[in-house]
Amino acid sequence: MSVQITTLEELTSPSRAASSSLSIQEYFLNMGPQHPIAHGSLRLLLVLDGEIVREVIPVPGFVHRGIEKMCEHLTCRQIVHLTDRMDYLSALSNNWCLSRTVERAAGIETNERIETVRTIVAELQRVQSHALWWGVLGMDLGALTPFLYAFRDREIISTAFEETIGARLTMNYIQPGGLMFDIHPGFVARVKEVLAHMRPILDEYDALLSGNVILQERLRNVGVLPAEKALAMGCTGPVLRGSGVALDLRKAEPYGVYEKAAFDVVVGTVGDCVRMEEMRQSLGIVEQLIDSIPAGPHMTVKPAAKIKLPAGMHYGQIETPRGILGTLIVSDGKSDKPWRVHFRTPNYNNLWAVTAIAPGCKIADIIAIQASLDLVIPDIDR
């Protein structure tokens, strides 16, 4: 077996076109970095035969800032602000994943209050993130009103976050050893307002889009991902659960106070209604926990304390709205800066499912597939 390094040039060069089964009609089309469905900068190189897609070659890397290289020069606490900028729609879950890995590695204890607030805030952000997915699914398929509905509800949840966390998008709130600030006195009342508002709104979402025949026609058996193919492609989160595999880390490896809240993992057979139902489950979790936030300090480790990780590999994973985010921190035990940090991001693994689904469908179906995969590009490129 030989090691053969190819480049995109060779892949798309005319010689390849002539020699392979690429008949004369097939041509390359760039659904390139600057495209409405890209939600960022992702280039999908389509090999087209008329309107039928023969092959999709995703080319990420347009937002690759080298976060893993930067993490080697930052202490564990400084890395938290970089995790916000990877998947900015689930910034709190990203912070939580890194903080939890560091806490388990360094043996830092957190109390019940911290875990409850972390669970509540992460679940609220899951609702906010799925609301954006719902709005943008409508926008990508041509219906512009869901976008306005979705962003109205995102603003309402953002005001709840802003009051406690101070930020709208890049939170930097969950630190190794606790929370950056204690929750705002009016936080519980504000969250109750949000819950009261969001419950009827979800039925409105269903009425607006799910019942729409055009949308059903555009989405029914388009981009069907069977269960074993989804597992083989390393998909996680709503994409995997949509294919029928009930893998949800909140149940499989409970963290935070998820055992205390009763909720069920939403599993679809082939469809994609998984995220709509997950929003209701998340609201249910927040409802059960919002009244029982125990008292206690919001930080168990002094902010200035140096956190030195013992030598070895420390891996922790968490269920973000888009899938399983894993943080691997390798430390040589000598300095408080990690030797190597690797983020197993959900979007990077969900992206490649499009190469398995796409061959044979039409260009318009690619847009439906991309919208249902709900990708966030900086999370792919890091």
């Binding site: 600057q34 960022g40 937002v63 290289k69 900028r85």
Partner: protein, 227 residues
């Protein structure tokens, strides 16, 4: 400028007292441009969610300023909102998009990543530290991500610049208002008169010239020819 508008200032100068007509024409043209800015949706990162989507949402309504028509194609856009970090791979594409936009084109760099590389300034091997290495930027909106209100302030600054800064006498020459946002308490009189003239003069930008000598201008040509 168009065939007529190129020659118009010259003709009006010949007619005695014709120069007065140039100002109203400027006012009309600048008013038409600033109240119908069509942004090009070029968001790469978190700023895209704040700048292009949240501001377009119902709470912070972008259409109050006539900017809500977000065009995906550069052919129909005249305001490029750079929302998010630009890495070396994207810089080429962004410069090509800037070239493909029709004059007069404006650039707002939002977010500290676009202004100076922001949180990725150090130890990042692909980041371009500051979008003004690629395209001439008119308004910088700091923040990470900037609040929608900050983006509106930048938008109003741009509209003020268009209203005061452009004239058909010198097409493509943009005079950026130095005293656009004086810090609180500092009044014009505080800045002595001799200080103000050079500040105004030095802040005149020939957009085409500024775009030509950007480091990425040549790289884009080689890249397009190579492909």
């Amino acid at each position: 400028m168009g065939v007529v508008l190129d020659k118009l200032p010259g003709l009006l100068e010949k007619i005695p007292g014709g120069g007065i007509l140039v100002a109203p024409i400027d006012a009309v043209i600048n008013w038409a441009r600033l109240s119908s800015l069509w942004p090009l949706a070029f968001g790469t990162k978190c700023c895209a969610i704040e700048m292009l989507m949240a501001t377009g949402g119902p709470h912070q309504d972008l259409s109050r300023f006539g900017v809500e028509v977000v065009r995906p194609s550069p052919r129909q856009a005249d305001l490029m909102v750079v929302a998010g970090a630009i890495v070396k791979k994207t810089a080429l594409r962004m410069r090509l998009l800037y070239e493909q936009m029709a004059e007069p084109r404006y650039v707002i760099a939002t977010g500290s990543c676009a202004i100076s590389g922001g949180p990725f300034m150090y130890n990042s091997y692909t980041i371009v530290r500051g979008v003004d290495q690629i395209v001439p930027v008119d308004v910088y909106v700091p923040g990470c991500p900037p609040r929608p209100e900050a983006f509106f302030w930048g938008l109003l600054m741009l509209q003020k610049m268009i209203r005061q800064g452009e004239s058909i006498r010198r097409p493509g020459i943009r005079r950026k208002p130095v005293l656009a946002a004086l810090p609180a308490g500092v009044t014009v009189q505080d800045i002595q008169e001799r200080m103000r003239a050079p500040l105004e003069e030095q802040n005149v930008v020939d957009v085409a010239g500024a775009a030509a000598e950007k480091p990425w201008a040549k790289k884009v040509r080689q890249w397009v020819k190579k492909h």
